[in-house]
């Protein structure tokens, strides 16, 4: 009995150690964002580095946030990121679910070919096509526009695949009932299929939004106008603009991470399901 207790004690201690390895950078980021610059350096040598600055008044905790928001246009960056994310999510849901519905529930010639192309696209690494993609967007005349940023991100074979897997599971009888009522495919899709698909819509929305919020490379390539830059690009600018203050950087990083952590905390179930679905099927 005691052996068992010791064993499970050791097991949990080991897990706690591992959890600490994964969490300490994040903890340090958040607590450092509340400290005066000099305090970060003096705290480094003790455990105080991972604790909030309890010996300074709470009213001063937000000072690094105030200065970093006044030095850089983070508000605009956050606004841009929210705008781009919302557009991509909305259009992505519509475009990909429509395509997935046809693949899941309709019979037509060429279905096999289209499905093979989808699988092929999922396997071949696409990032090397970033320069030709830039050229195409340039030719279309949408460089430095919101259209140029979001258009390549809307259609996603990965999301089509997720939707298709879900739609296949919806029983045919539900649709047949409405066919008898004389409803067309479009009406069936919008009034029966989509309302039944809230879980997968949630999963795709969250994963797409996080992807868009965190994207860095494409906006750097496509935008020349600083006013259009999303938050991630501004973070990199901030990290390279003298004078660099650690507490200000940590405040900006925390601002970028908090919304995503909140989304994760509230919609954890959907994220995990999305991840799990991709793995098993």
């Amino acid at each position: 009995m005691t052996v068992k207790i010791v064993k499970s004690g050791l097991y949990y201690m080991f897990l706690c150690g591992l959890a600490f390895l994964f969490l300490f950078p994040i903890i340090w980021m958040v607590v450092s964002s509340f400290k005066p610059e000099a305090m970060i350096a003096t705290d480094l040598k003790t455990i105080q580095a991972l604790l909030p600055p309890l010996d300074i008044p709470i009213s001063q905790w937000l000072d690094p946030y105030k200065t970093v928001f006044s030095r850089f246009d983070l508000i605009r960056g956050i606004g841009n990121s929210l705008l781009y994310g919302t557009i991509v999510v909305t259009l992505s849901i519509l475009v990909n679910s429509l395509a997935a519905y046809a693949l899941a529930k309709m019979n037509f010639p060429g279905k096999g070919v289209i499905f093979s192309i989808i699988i092929l696209i999922m396997i071949v690494p696409m990032e090397t096509g970033i320069v030709p993609l830039f050229v195409i967007v340039n030719r279309l005349g949408i460089v430095n526009t919101i259209a140029g940023l979001v258009a390549p991100a809307i259609a996603s074979v990965f999301n089509i695949f997720l939707f298709r897997q879900f739609f296949i599971g919806i029983p045919k009888s539900l649709e047949e009932a409405s066919v008898i009522d004389g409803a067309g495919k479009i009406r069936i899709f919008f009034s029966i299929i989509l309302p039944l698909s809230k879980p997968i819509i949630a999963t795709v929305s969250i994963l797409t939004f996080i992807g868009s919020w965190n994207d860095f490379l494409w906006p750097v390539i496509i935008f020349t106008d600083n006013k259009r830059m999303p938050l991630q690009v501004i973070l990199n600018v901030l990290n390279n603009t003298e004078p660099v203050y650690t507490n200000e950087i940590m405040a900006a990083l925390t601002v970028s991470t908090i919304p995503i952590i909140l989304i994760y905390a509230f919609f954890q179930k959907y994220i995990v399901e999305g991840v799990a679905h991709t793995g098993i099927k």
Binding site: Y12, P125, E127, I130, L253, T257, T278, G279, I280
Partner: protein
Amino acid sequence: MKSKKLLFRKYTIRETLMAYGFMAPAIILVAIFVLGPIIASISFAFTDYYLLKPNEIDYIGLENFKYIVEDDLVLKSFINTFKFVAMVIPLQVGTALGLALLVNKPNKFNSLFKVSFFAPVVMSLVVMSILWMVILNPESGILNSFLVKIGLPKQPFLTSATQAMPTIVVASAWQGAGYQMMIFLAGLKNIPANLYEAASIDGANKWKQFRFITLPSLRNTSVFVFITTLIGAFKLIVQPMVMTSGGPKNSTLTIVYYIYQTGVRYRNVGYASAIGLIFTIIVTIFILMQRRLLKEE
């Protein structure tokens, strides 16, 4: 009777039109923004396309490819990319599998641990890169101050040509492992519990159960995790871009980063496309080989 009827009306014109109508937006966008770049990169690769002179594109045959062979930076960035892949795959996938096995039993504590391991996944690559840059700063970073405290020498980390890439490997695995852990957990959940019961009645110990039940049952999951991690690893660019700008001494210049520099910064689209084409072919062959190996085993 019914089946015969079904056979006759396998496709109806109405349904076919409807289906293509539903797929049209996706097909058009994929054609322009996914297939378009692939086709474009194949044709650009044989030209001297310079972005600022779109009207003076000449076909130059294999010139770009000849130049690739002589370009030391191409070789360097290929080696760097393969180094990264060779280090990060075992570290990240191994860590993910280990974590999944550790927290597999459903209970309150384990769901907390799962959240901890998954937390870095939701951070952006930029945030993660900047954060590690500050933590790993040789002079003022918390990691070196910890090393000194326990009596070890300070390390140069990202500022040294030998340590920079391994450092990026560890930081990337730190961020990514939680994602693959979730996929492994989903795979573990699908293994029927009675397999383990039967095995323990037969007297199989924990190791044998792992070796002969868990591992074989995770085969599809592992193939998936392996290939997606591999594809992700080959695309490495943001971390070196933010953390090291490809340095020191080009030790973290990756192939996609070099393609970006040539094509976007120096506007040399033809040459960048040629490098991209070669790289895509190599990676695709690599992935197909991997798939076969993992399937045949």
